[in-house]
């Protein structure tokens, strides 16, 4: 046979060549589109050198080649936002890749980022290709059957309570129906109108009383039923128009209120908006308490300029993946990296030094550093004297700052230039022009001068807010930092005064010495001392990159105040190489400062001209979602209401959220919300493109376009990088019957216009309905200091090429407190300085006027939430008795307001109340590399990497999905409770309130809610500390039904396809909502969200509760063996390849014995 003739010939021609006998057995019996290739026998001499026929190699080239490509923006719940390139083949998005355009971003002045920013992408973005076409897409508007029946019946209500019949509200267990879009809009509009009407006025008040809402909540509604409608654009910063659209909608509802109550614009109120940053427990609540601003931070690449990097409670390597190289590159160029962590984490493996502490003891650890620095006089004199309140004198009788007019006869507080007092009706400059700070005249009293003692002249010197930073040097006072004395007041009385420094130092020396802090935190004293000295050596060069870890404990604000104290003592606030940053979630809408022209445009006075100037008027109120999470209740303990009036939530009767799996789906205390709070709601709507746990419990789900299908542009920014990112419109056809998020909001508003006959409601969305959303975007751009000078068109065109735009902040990188460190501006505080003493009444009553340490509120083997300290003249907090409850009452509810002081020694001897009942472990739930919040953890090729139990073939049918949730536990602890590596275990937290209040064993609700998961031997976590990653999808009624009835055992809802990653319960079975008194004050002074204004009390995402999702103390019991099909020990352990199970070969291998270094 001739070689080339028979090389790769098709079946047919070969058959001719060979001839064929026995036709009855003809080869082509079944159709096969692929022509089989036959060769003649091939002898190959040396395949290392040559190979005869390589024609087949084209098959891989065919896979690789694509027909076209386009760019879309991936912006889940993280801080990165990546422009990704989609490769299209045969009209299908086949795969995704990076844009390599980040090195081409320029600002208005021609400054350019470098290609060191490239590539920006991650595994979750790559996995999206399987989501766009996946079976959990929301493919069309969906309505829950029972809800539809209630609506169709005309919203019948109980005459007495106004409550609908529960039969209509079997959420999570009901059937779902597809709807045409116009009907979906109409149902939403009619329902919200009905609810707002039902709960307005006297009738509404009666209903809500009958439903047992706290009178303070009802009172806060101002009689407006629209305030029972709650809206939340999830991580709103991620969508200037589409996500903020829900807040614009809430503002628009003033029109509905004005119709329902027949009031004018002066009295009309909008719906209520829920918070975002503080809801996620991302806000570091102590930052405003020290700096007056929401959060102090810096673009992460600033780390290049530091000499000492302290990554504190932040798993940078897993949660800031695209920015990890800045850290590892700084390290290779000589920056020393230190990890302060609660386990040997991914980030620890990139650190030079690792300090492992007990979870939640971070404030003590920081105070220990301060003690060493103060005791050794290692602090920076200049910074401490001029940029902090340490030298200020405090009166011990009142615990208030000493004021000049209290002891200097005839002293008049001088007029201030560092802050402008605005008379009533006086308008501030437009936000983007604001350079100077301003406050309402009514707050003048909050800005009185302070007093320091001059040790040279022996004089008491008044210090005003104008004497901030270097300006204080004009006083020529040689400040006595440790001053304590008695001062004669004008009224003749004498009072003892002491500096903040002296009061603080006394507390630290008595309670926070390295020896004591070592016992509290578990970290050796040597580590504390060494680190303190290194920080002091690296002035302006120590970066504190703090993370979500310590932020998720009840004492989070104390942690912030204490870490700032370390940084302030060592001159490490506001410098490129020396600063404090907190990294959790994405926030700081103020970077797009023009947002209010869209989110708060006056609905009574709409700008309908393209290019016209909109008027801003806020009719909507904001409130913290933590009250909803708490059971739609404020914090009332004993006879005391701890929730300030300005914080007071309204009863929640309806909610509409987008981009928000953090509410319901992965909410803290999930099963309590599902079983105790959701039944109080009459309407739950979600807009999403993926069927999440939140959708499972909704009444109406709007089907959104995926990022790859955007037909309306949008834009977003980030708190950790300098880019403004535009979501470009894409050429990809919508795969399903979906709409743009903003289009959906406009659609509902349009329907409401028809229902109410008020055309303004559809005018409100004129440019969306005209498919010109860019008009709104341009209005925002033109009103934003960082963006003005750009056009949305140009920015979108660049985005289409994978190139972002640089924001025009003061600096690249953006560095918080930069102006303050240069003494150009004061901090947004009462004193204009960094403040470490809080004289407000709530802080004094809570024992936190000084920065002190409290034990975690639940995640501790010791008595929870106790104030650690010995008797101190400045610690005069209110006791349980003062609040009217029993000193001994440590239940979760009272514990939050329980002020009991113990010395460190006493506290360490004390025990968690549940310890007697075999509750043994701290259980915390941090975030990890395999999900951005919960996106897209359930996608198979992404999920399979999530921990040690991934198996796409699911050899063990018990697996809820291709992977499953697990608890990491120290092997020695596991053995002690008879749990093998890989076993299934039950995890139970405080039975009083978890998994939910009023749970009953034996009920379906309890079965779904009780957490069962795998145990994984994890040598990296200390004994007594267990952990489950936060990101996985939890069990629902549907997923449990799937796991128990599907032949393949998948925990996937037969009704909705919702895919759980637990067979039963979820990590949120063990968490609960917590409300903290010092986060609900009426008095804390801080910067406003936008611009340079200063205000006090409640401000969403600045000063309000943040919860404590990492607080739980649990019991762990074995449920099932981990071996395949429940037989024996989990295979990798049984074979001897797991920690503590090592076989002989594994032992040799771990020691490196398979290669000896001879001689």
């Amino acid at each position: 046979m001739n070689e080339d003739k028979n090389k790769g010939v098709s079946r047919r021609s070969f058959i001719k060549g060979m001839g064929i006998a026995g036709g009855s057995l003809a080869a082509a019996k079944w159709a096969d589109a692929t022509p089989l290739r036959y060769f003649k026998p091939t002898a190959i001499e040396n395949p290392l050198a040559a190979y005869p026929d390589r024609d087949w190699e084209k098959t891989y080239r065919n896979i690789f080649e694509h027909d076209s490509e386009f760019v879309f923006l991936c912006a889940p719940n993280d801080t990165h936002n990546c422009l990704l390139k989609a490769k299209v083949k045969n009209g299908v998005l086949q795969r995704i890749g990076p844009s390599y355009g980040y090195g081409k971003a320029v600002d208005l002045y021609g400054n350019q980022s470098s290609h060191r920013w490239d590539p920006r992408i991650c595994q979750k973005g790559l996995a999206l290709v399987r989501r766009f076409y996946g079976d959990r897409r929301v493919k069309a508007p969906m309505i829950r059957r029972g809800f539809k029946e209630w609506a169709d019946a005309g919203y019948p209500r109980d005459a007495g309570t106004g409550k609908p019949d529960a039969k209509y509200f079997q959420r999570g267990k009901d059937k779902w129906l597809r709807l045409p879009w116009d009907q979906a809009y109409e149902y939403a509009a009619k329902t919200m109108t009905n609810i707002a009407t039902a709960y307005s006025g006297k009738q509404g008040e009666e209903y809500l009383k009958a439903q047992n809402y706290d009178p303070a909540m009802i009172h806060s509604m101002e009689g407006a039923g629209v305030q029972t409608l709650k809206f939340r654009g999830g991580m709103a910063f991620l969508g200037a128009t589409r996500i903020f659209g829900l807040y614009r909608f809430a503002n628009m509802l003033a029109l509905l209120d004005s119709k329902i109550r027949g009031v004018g614009p002066d009295k009309a109120t909008g719906g209520r908006g829920w918070d975002s940053y503080s809801w996620h427990t991302d806000l570091p609540p102590g930052h405003p308490m020290v700096t007056g601003q929401q959060t102090n931070d810096f673009d992460l690449f600033t780390v290049e300029h530091s000499k000492l990097l302290i990554v504190w409670g932040m798993n940078w390597i897993t949660t800031k993946m695209p920015d990890s190289h800045w850290m590892t590159e700084a390290r290779l160029k000589g920056t020393k990296t230190v990890a302060v962590t609660v386990e040997y984490s991914a980030t620890a493996s990139k650190a030079n030094d690792v300090l492992i502490i007990r979870p939640g003891t971070d404030p003590a650890f920081a105070l220990g550093l301060c003690q060493v620095i103060m005791a050794g006089n290692l602090y920076d004199k200049d910074f401490v004297e001029n940029k902090t309140d340490f030298p200020f004198l405090v009166r011990l009788d009142t615990l208030q700052p000493l004021r000049p007019d209290e002891f200097i006869a005839g002293y008049k507080d001088p007029e201030l230039t560092s802050v402008k007092f605005m008379q009533k009706g006086e308008k501030p400059l437009p936000g983007m022009e604001q350079a100077a700070q301003f406050v309402p005249e009514s707050m003048r009293g909050d800005f009185k001068p302070f007093v320091v003692f001059d040790k040279k002249t022996k004089n008491y010197v008044p210090v005003t807010r104008d004497d901030y930073g270097d300006h204080a040097k004009a006083l020529k006072a040689s400040v006595e930092l440790k001053h304590r004395a008695r001062v004669k007041l004008i009224d003749g009385s004498e009072v003892e005064v002491r500096t903040v420094y002296s009061l603080t130092k006394e507390y630290l020396d008595a309670n926070m010495t390295p020896a004591l802090v070592s016992q509290i935190t578990g970290c050796p004293a040597t580590g504390i001392i060494k680190l303190a000295k290194e920080i002091a050596k690296n002035k302006e060069k120590t970066i504190f990159a703090c993370g979500m870890g310590p932020n998720q404990f009840f004492n989070a604000d104390l942690k912030d105040r204490a870490i700032f104290m370390v940084a302030a003592l060592t001159r490490n606030v506001g410098f490129p190489g020396g600063n404090v940053g907190s990294y959790a979630g994405n926030y700081r809408t103020a970077l797009i400062g023009g947002e209010p022209v869209y989110a708060a445009e006056d609905p009574f006075n709409l700008q309908l001209e393209a290019g016209g100037k909109p008027t801003v008027k806020k009719y909507s109120h904001y409130e913290s979602l933590h009250y909803f999470n708490y059971g739609d209740r404020p914090l009332k303990v004993g006879d005391k209401m701890f929730t300030g009036d300005g914080h007071m939530p309204a009863p929640t009767k309806a909610m509409w959220l987008n981009n928000s799996n953090s509410v319901i789906g992965n909410i803290k205390w999930h099963y309590d919300v599902v079983n105790n709070t959701l039944p109080k709601l009459e309407f739950i709507a979600y807009s999403d493109w993926w069927w999440t746990g939140s959708c499972e419990y909704s009444d109406l789900v709007f089907a959104c376009d995926s990022w790859a299908e955007f037909k309306h542009p949008d834009m977003c920014g980030s708190c950790s990088n300098p880019f403004l990112q535009v979501f470009p419109r894409t050429p990809m056809e919508r795969i399903f019957d979906t709409r743009a998020d903003v289009e959906i909001i406009a659609g509902v508003a349009n329907a409401m216009a028809k229902v109410t006959g008020d055309k303004r409601m559809s005018d409100m969305w004129k440019f969306v309905l005209e498919n010109n959303t860019s008009e709104y975007l341009q209005r925002i751009v033109s009103a934003s200091a960082t963006l003005k000078g750009n056009t949305i068109g140009d920015m979108e065109d660049k985005a289409k090429q994978g190139i972002p735009t640089l924001m025009n902040n003061r600096t690249y990188p953006r560095i918080s407190s930069y102006e303050q460190a240069k003494s150009e501006k004061p901090w947004h505080t009462k004193s204009g300085r960094l403040e470490f003493y809080r004289p407000e009444v709530e802080f004094i009553e809570g024992g936190e006027n000084m920065v002190i340490y409290r034990e975690p509120v639940d995640s501790t083997p010791h008595e929870p939430n106790v104030i650690v300290g010995k008797k101190h003249a400045a610690m005069r907090f209110k006791s349980p008795k003062d609040y009217g409850f029993d000193e001994k009452d440590v239940s979760s509810e009272t514990r939050q307001a329980r002020n009991v002081m113990m010395s460190a020694e006493e506290m360490l001897k004390s025990e968690h109340p549940l310890k007697l009942k075999n509750y043994t472990h701290i259980y915390h739930t941090p975030k990890y590399r395999h999900g951005a919040h919960s996106t897209p953890v359930d996608t198979d090729i992404n999920a399979i990497w999530f921990g040690p139990f991934g198996d796409v073939y699911r050899h063990d049918k018990r697996m809820p999905s291709v992977v499953e949730g697990y608890v990491d536990i120290n092997p020695l602890d596991a053995k002690a409770i008879g749990v093998e590596d890989g076993d299934y275990v039950w995890i139970d937290a405080d039975p009083e309130d978890r998994p939910f209040r009023g749970h009953k064993p034996g009920t379906e609700e309890y079965k779904v809610a009780r957490l069962m998961l795998r145990a994984r031997y994890y040598p990296g976590t200390p004994r007594g500390v267990t952990r489950t990653w936060h990101n996985m999808y939890g069990s629902t009624f549907g997923s449990v039904k799937g796991a128990e009835t599907r032949p393949d055992g998948l925990a996937k809802s037969p009704e909705t396809n919702y895919q759980s990653m637990y067979r039963y319960g979820s990590h949120q079975s063990a968490t609960r909502a917590w409300l903290r008194p010092t986060q609900m004050t009426e008095t804390l002074v801080h910067k406003t969200m936008f611009g340079q204004g200063i205000e006090k009390g409640f401000a969403a995402d600045i000063h309000c509760p943040t919860g404590a999702p990492r607080e739980s103390f649990v019991k762990i019991t074995k449920a099932e063996p981990g071996g395949l099909g429940g037989q024996g020990v989990w295979r990798p352990a049984a074979l001897g390849f797991r920690p503590t199970y090592e076989n002989q070969a594994m032992k040799e291998y771990l020691k490196g014995h398979y290669m000896k270094k001879k001689g």
Binding site: N46, Y109, K333, D353, E433, N808, S816, I941, E1148
Partner: protein, 376 residues
């Protein structure tokens, strides 16, 4: 058996076929001090090459946590066990046995054959450290509790075990770039390559009933672009190029520079005898005995060299060039704090600053009438 030159071992060794080096050799260098185990590389590969039927479990590129992680289960423990304890004196050739030399009379290589269940749990051992953290700790370099991440692709070995063991000779090495391929039109799925490859980078496809492996992204490489796992590496730990043997070094070739000039990058498990063409910059924090077992006796020197990078502006320049372009860098240059990469023709394809600069903008832009606040 033929006698072939293996420069990793600094000696000749036995191999079924005569030595034949390609015109140039595909190669990747990984900086393990930068790998974050995000698995973006694994998914870049997966979504490009192995999302088809029968490939569900397949990850041609994977990242595993060492020492407890592995894919398939304990692949290296079991191969080393077959090979037995060996010794290697620093600065000397390796006189121990390779898997070719340790093979039994009936086998081409000493190997272990993974079972179906061994391919489960691709990320088992993720973040599991060696040593028990029982309580609070102070840990300094080198860490007494440790793990590190090991990203792995096919090493497109100079002496591939898969190629040597294929009874049909359906596996070959491309003369133009040294990429090793399994001929998908001739493979009969005997799985001999799956058994023989000590790195376990040949995988069986139950749908096509053939064995498959990493193809070095030749369709990209042929066009001058780096493989998908490299283009997508956000840890910026990888650079793909062409490695030359020590007798043929090119000074400005990034790969040669890091392997030969700077002695930063080492082959993994060189004692197996395959002359693998993926190289690793070893992690500075992990246990030295373990690292020696994996990277050979040059590991101590490599770690010292890494620690000295802080005083080496040129090497720093190359280190920050890594990952800054999706093109294949054939040459590089560092001058005045700027690093540049060049293509085959010597044209510049990328330039980056060794330290990203700080820009300060005016506090107030009079033209635009906007105030610039870092606390807006």
């Amino acid at each position: 058996m033929a006698k072939v030159k293996n420069w990793h071992l600094q000696r000749e060794m036995e191999y079924p076929y005569a030595e034949s080096r390609p015109k140039r050799q595909w190669s990747i260098i990984f900086d393990l001090n930068k790998c974050i185990a995000c698995q973006t590389c694994s998914l870049a590969c997966k979504t490009t090459w192995t999302s088809g039927k029968g490939q569900e479990y397949m990850f041609w590129n994977n990242v595993e946590t060492k020492p407890y992680g592995s894919y398939p289960l304990a692949w290296d423990v079991r191969v080393l066990e077959k090979l037995g304890a060996q010794a290697w004196k620093a600065k000397e050739p390796y006189y121990g046995k390779t898997i070719f030399e340790a093979a039994g009379a009936n086998e081409v290589v000493a190997h272990f054959a993974p079972k179906d269940e061994d391919w489960m749990y691709p990320n088992n051992g993720e973040d599991d450290c060696l040593g028990n953290v029982t309580t609070g700790q102070e840990i300094n370099l080198p860490h007494d509790k440790w793990f590190f991440y090991l990203p792995r692709t096919c090493a497109h070995c100079t002496y591939p075990a898969c190629l040597a063991s294929c009874p049909r000779k359906a596996i070959y090495k491309r003369e133009e770039d040294g990429i090793v391929l399994i001929d998908q039109s001739r493979c009969k799925g005997y799985g001999e390559c799956v058994r023989a490859c000590p790195y376990k980078k040949s995988m069986y496809n139950t749908h096509t009933r053939t064995s498959e492996k990493c193809i070095g992204c030749y369709p990209a490489v042929e066009k001058g672009y780096q493989p998908m796992c490299v283009q997508n590496c956000i840890g910026k730990i990888r650079v793909m190029g062409f490695v030359n043997p020590p007798w043929n070094i090119r000074q400005d070739n990034p790969i040669d520079y890091l392997i030969h000039n700077k002695e930063l990058a080492l082959p993994y498990y060189p004692q197996l005898g395959l002359e693998p063409n993926i190289y690793y910059i070893p992690p500075i924090h992990a246990d030295r005995d373990y690292l020696l077992q994996m990277f050979g006796p040059k590991v101590d020197k490599a770690i010292e060299n890494y620690k000295n990078l802080k005083n080496d502006p040129v090497a720093q320049g190359l280190m920050v060039l890594i990952g800054s372009t999706d093109r294949i860098m054939h040459g590089f240059k560092v001058k005045d704090g700027i690093a540049m990469g060049f293509d085959e023709k010597g044209d510049e394809i990328v330039r980056v600053p060794v330290t990203e600069p700080i820009f300060e903008r005016a506090a107030f832009d009079e033209k635009l009438k906007v105030s610039r606040n870092n606390t807006p």
